[in-house]
């Protein structure tokens, strides 16, 4: 074989998409986005973090926007699926809400960087494209769950926003305290099962008829 042909062939073979590499890029992209924000994020910095060439990144993604959108969408969908895992919108109210708390707590405590990135995306221009589909799924599943509970006379009828705020804001706040390691006035804080489920019982009491 002609040596030039061989080299050309070899160099092209190296461009085959590598699943592990894509996962590494995703992981490092989330880390970097959280660390430096959208403005400070560059393809060059990401390539360096991943120890790959910038060209490799451009094989997978058209540009920085495309990369942030794709990574953001995939991660948001992954987290969304985790949050709805084993959740049955037709389950009795207390059981369904408990499952929701369990899923959300696990998902957010195990993926603190993703939580931060999703929070950044929520207040960015990427927001609409990334959350559009997910919001629909959540709205219909959680809407149905709430509607069922009202129909069965387990909770009072209320706007979905009121329901969501009472049902989840306390949990999100506990997780924020935990991830920051501090609560009010800088007091050290670690979220225990006792505090988590103690709070849950109060939320349940507030919502149940």
């Amino acid at each position: 074989m002609n040596i030039h042909l061989y080299l050309n062939f070899n160099c092209k073979a190296m461009r085959i998409r590598d699943v592990n590499k894509v996962e590494l890029v995703k992981e490092k992209a989330i880390e970097l986005l959280v660390k430096v924000g959208f403005e400070g994020f560059t393809m060059g910095k990401l390539a360096k973090e991943c120890d790959i060439s910038v060209a490799t990144l451009y094989i997978y993604y058209k540009d920085k926007d495309d990369l942030i959108l794709q990574v953001g969408m995939e991660e948001t969908e992954r987290m969304g699926a985790l949050m709805l895992e084993d959740f049955d919108p037709d389950a009795p109210f207390a059981i369904g809400l408990r499952q929701q708390w369990k899923n959300r707590a696990n998902c957010m405590l195990e993926n603190p960087l993703s939580v931060q990135m999703i929070e950044q995306l929520r207040t960015s221009t990427y927001q609409e494209k990334i959350f559009e589909r997910l919001i629909e799924t959540f709205k219909s599943t959680l809407g149905r769950f709430m509607h069922n509970a009202v129909q069965r006379g387990e909770i009072e009828a209320m706007p979905l926003e009121t329901y969501w705020s009472v049902a989840f804001a306390p949990l999100y706040n506990l997780i924020r305290f935990h991830n920051e390691g501090r609560s009010l006035g800088g007091k050290p804080f670690v979220l225990t099962d006792e505090v988590l489920w103690g709070t849950f019982d109060l939320v349940l009491k507030a919502l149940k008829k």
Binding site: R15, T42, S53, A55, Y58, K62, D63, K64, D65, D66
Partner: protein
């Protein structure tokens, strides 16, 4: 994402402003190159073309001929 990786051509350029991009867009249209993007957020203004027909040198000649820098991104 299901692209043939060998069809992706990447270049460092200085297609930096919107005006630069408009000019290049005309050139691309003239040569019937449809699948192209320039990352203007990036320091290297990376030009990315998906084509199974074009060769690296075709693109480099075309872009340079129109007054911009263009070299393969490695």
């Amino acid at each position: 994402m299901e692209l043939n990786m060998n069809d992706i051509l990447l270049f460092k350029t200085d297609i930096r402003t919107e005006g630069d991009k408009r000019l290049i867009a005309k050139v691309m249209q003239e040569y019937k190159i449809a699948n192209w993007t320039v990352d203007q957020d990036d320091i290297d203004c990376v030009l990315r073309i998906v084509s199974s027909q074009l060769k690296l040198n075709d693109v480099i000649n075309l872009v340079v001929h129109n007054g911009y820098q263009c070299e393969e991104l490695t």
